[in-house]
Structure formats: C-alpha cells, structure tokens
C-alpha cells in the first residue's frame, strides 16, 4: 500500500472529528425518530477532495466513535459507512474539484454517491446484519434501503451544494486578465 501523505493523515483525523460532531447533531425529518445524517455529506466531500482511503477511514473511525460513545459498536453499519466513503472516493477522486466544477462533475459526484450508498446500505449493511446478528432478511433489507435513500438525498442535496460553494472559493488558474 502507498504510504499516506501527511496531509491525508490530518484530513482523516479532522474528517473523522467532523463526522463525529455532525453525527451527534440531530436534525429532525418528517419521519419520527429519524434524523438527517449530515455526516455522510461531509464524508462524501472529503472523499472527493482527499481520496478513497480518507473516505474509508473517516467513515470507520467517525462511526466507531459515535457508536462507542452512545450504545456500543454496531459493527455491520460501521463497516457499511466505511465502504460508502471508499466507493465515493474511488469514483469521485478523478473529478479534480480544485480545477473548478461544472454540471458534468456534479452529475458524476452524484452517480458516485448513489452507487456507494446503495451498495453500502442495500448490500453490505444488511448482509453483515444477517451474518453477525442473524436478523430476519426482510427487516434488514427494508431498514438498509430506508437508511440508504435518506443518505442519498442528504448527500445529493447538501454534498452537491457544498462542492459548488467550495469550488467557488478557489482561485482558478488564469483567472487574472491583463489590463488593456
């Protein structure tokens, strides 16, 4: 494995801290007892900026910390969070957001996050739930699907807006023009 750069090490640490803090903030949704998980939007943005390994570890460390300080670790969902970050990073790293952003890049970012969350919550989480906790199949798949769709909506709306806003703050190459 390639060695992690110093910047990734720090990005993982700060990203995991952000994931944790936002995971503890609860913003209500129309459905009772469910909350908007803003942490997945942040994870997607960081995975896009810093790559798959960062996405994976931010999800793993952040989610483990959230679980450990609230009700003990639920490993299947922790691993699913990590997978989501990994997949988004694998697809979206090529976007090179620092070079500016356009509609095509936002579409690709959303394709990446939809694939990632569908795989993570529609496949990884339920399958591990069955393997580890032997829960009934229809329960884990419906639960995973609901969580997946919620995360896709959150990441799609918040993540895309964040990327747009972030790209605007970067000074692009050749943005200065010579005065006549």
């Amino acid at each position: 494995m390639k060695k992690l750069s110093v910047k990734s090490v720090v990005a993982i640490g700060i990203g995991a801290a952000l994931f944790f803090v936002l995971g503890k903030v609860s913003i209500p949704t129309p459905v009772p007892n469910t909350y908007i998980s803003l942490q997945y939007a942040i994870q997607a943005v960081f995975a896009t900026l810093f790559g798959p390994i960062a996405g994976l570890l931010i999800g793993f460390i952040g989610h483990t910390l959230i679980d450990m300080t609230s009700y003990g670790p639920w490993w299947s969902w922790i691993i699913a969070s990590a997978c989501a970050g990994l997949i988004i990073g694998l697809i979206a790293l090529k976007l090179d957001v620092n070079e500016g952003i356009d509609k095509k890049k936002i579409v690709l970012f959303n394709v990446a996050q939809v694939i990632a969350h569908l795989l993570a919550w529609g496949v990884v989480a339920p399958v591990l739930d069955i393997l580890i906790y032997a829960e009934p199949m229809n329960k884990v798949f419906s639960q995973g699907l609901v969580a997946g769709v919620a995360n896709i909506v959150t990441t799609g709306v918040v993540g895309s807006l964040l990327l747009f806003a972030y790209a605007k703050t970067i000074v692009k190459k050749g943005s200065l023009s010579k005065e006549d």
């Binding site: 992690l4 090490v9 700060i14 801290a17 460390i61 580890i132 329960k139």
Partner: protein
C-alpha cells in the same frame, strides 16, 4: 442547541485503568469478535456475567454512564420491535420447531421460539455495551493512539485517530458558534421549517465549518511536515507504558475468552443453542 452529552475518559484509580492501552484494546477486540460470532445462549450468559464483573472492577459509576444506557435501551427496544413487526415467526424458522403461546392478531403470534430469539439477540448487544463503555471511560485518549500502533496498525492511522480525538471538542465548539451565528441571521434547522429548506439551511452552517476545517488541515499538516512526521518507519510514543503482571493475565484471558466461546458455540455443529430439540 445545547452541548450534546458525550461519554469520555474518566480519570480514576482502578485495576482496569491501570492496564496498558494495548491490553485493553486487544481484550475489547477479542470480546467483540467472540460475541459477534456466537449465538449460543450459554456462552452469552457467561459473557453477560463477565461484563458486569468487569464493570464492577472498573469503578465507573452507573450515574456517569446512565445517559448512554438510556440511549442503548431505546435502540434495543426499537430494534426488537422492528424485528418482530417484520418477522413475527422468525424464531420458528431459526429453531425449527413451533410452540405457540398465544396470538395477538392475524400473523402476529407469540411463540416460545420467537421470544427465545429476541432474548439471545438482546443479550448479544447487551454483552458488548459495558465493555465498550468501560474501554472509552478507562482509556486515556493519548495512550489509545500508541496502543493502536502497538497492535500493528500503521502509526499514521494511529495518529489520525489521536488527531480526531484531540479536535472533537474544538470542532464541536466551532459548530456551536457557527450555528448560533446563523440562527441569529434567521437560518433555522429545527422542525419549524420545511424539510428541504432545512437541508438547504444546513449548508449555511456546514460550508464555514468545512472551510475552516480545511484551513486547520493546512496548518496542522504544515506543522507536522516541518517536524518531519512520517520520515521514519517507526515512531515512539511518549505515553506508552511497559506491560505488567496484570496485563499478561488480561492478554491470556482475551485468548481464553475467544477459545472458550468458539469451542462451546461450535461443539454441537452450529452457532445456535437449541433447547427446543
């Protein structure tokens, strides 16, 4: 938004606190793996008793972790409820026999097998909770990074974890400040606004948070680079302690726990203990 109550390190003198971080980490991992694999009631009962014994030993007071226990109770209740709503006779399939106790309505029956399944499932979660909480409450965060490195995780990742633990309070404060400032400007996240407005409003808080975090990343990584972080293959830790007698005993116990649970669980062929046969 008030500050969220979060479980953290509680400094105290106890046999559990005195153990080296590495030992506690290995014990915790062995314990979680053992509990994850088994579904055997006999093993789970042993683990349950064991976890309460460790809790007693750690001198952590119930009062200090009661809010966490409340969350865990709600979580367990919801989980059990959903399992029952979706598959009221799942236990019947699992244990291969059916003892009907009574019927509530339609397909919602109460069978002995289903109750037994719920009991096992709940125990499986409950066994890990005290051990996980004690691990958090009794391990010095700065020692934790050292112990990750000592069980073979790359020290870079260990350092990431320790950075995360170090910056959680800072980021929490910053989130709080930004959200108060935005609330003063009329941006609301509570239930009073429409769902999509709320989602959009959250961007107004997250964007400053991300930008300041990116600045923070820049500053910290420059400082680390200047000090030559990552030049060598290995790294020593200021807080790392030497192992003592109790550590070796605990390490031995971790292996024993794993072996015991595997042997008892798989003695009769599969991971379930079936009293209905």
């Amino acid at each position: 938004m008030a500050k969220v109550a979060v479980l953290s390190y509680i400094k105290r003198k106890s046999p559990v606190h005195d153990l080296v971080g590495t030992t506690k980490l290995i014990f915790f991992l062995a314990w979680s793996v053992a509990v994850m694999v088994t579904y055997d009631t006999r093993v789970l009962v042993c683990f349950l008793i064991g976890s309460f014994a460790i809790f007693k030993l750690s001198k952590v007071k119930i009062k200090e972790i009661s809010f966490v226990l409340g969350l865990a109770a709600v979580f367990l209740l919801m989980n059990n409820l959903f399992v029952y709503l979706f598959s009221p006779e799942y236990g019947v399939d699992l244990y291969g026999s059916r003892t009907l106790l009574f019927t509530i309505a339609g397909r919602y029956t109460i069978t002995a097998q289903q109750l037994f399944y719920h009991l096992n499932m709940t125990m499986k979660v409950v066994c890990v909770i005290p051990v996980a909480l004690i691990f958090i409450a009794c391990t010095d965060p700065s020692e934790f990074a050292a112990s990750l490195a000592s069980i073979g995780v790359s020290y870079r990742i260990g350092y990431s974890v320790s950075l995360a633990l170090r910056y959680i309070p800072d980021i929490q404060r910053e989130y709080h400040n930004i959200s108060q400032a935005q609330q003063a400007r009329g941006i609301d996240l509570s239930g009073k606004d429409k769902f999509f407005t709320r989602l959009k409003n959250s961007v107004a808080i997250l964007l400053p948070l991300i930008l300041s975090s990116l600045n923070r990343i820049e500053t910290i990584s420059n400082a680390m680079e200047l000090r030559g972080f990552g030049k060598k293959k290995k790294r020593t830790w200021y807080v790392q302690r030497k192992m003592e007698r109790n550590d070796y005993i605990t390490l031995f116990l971790s292996v024993a726990v794993l072996v015991f649970s595997m042997v008892v669980t798989f003695w009769d062929g599969n991971r379930y203990f079936n009293p209905f046969l």
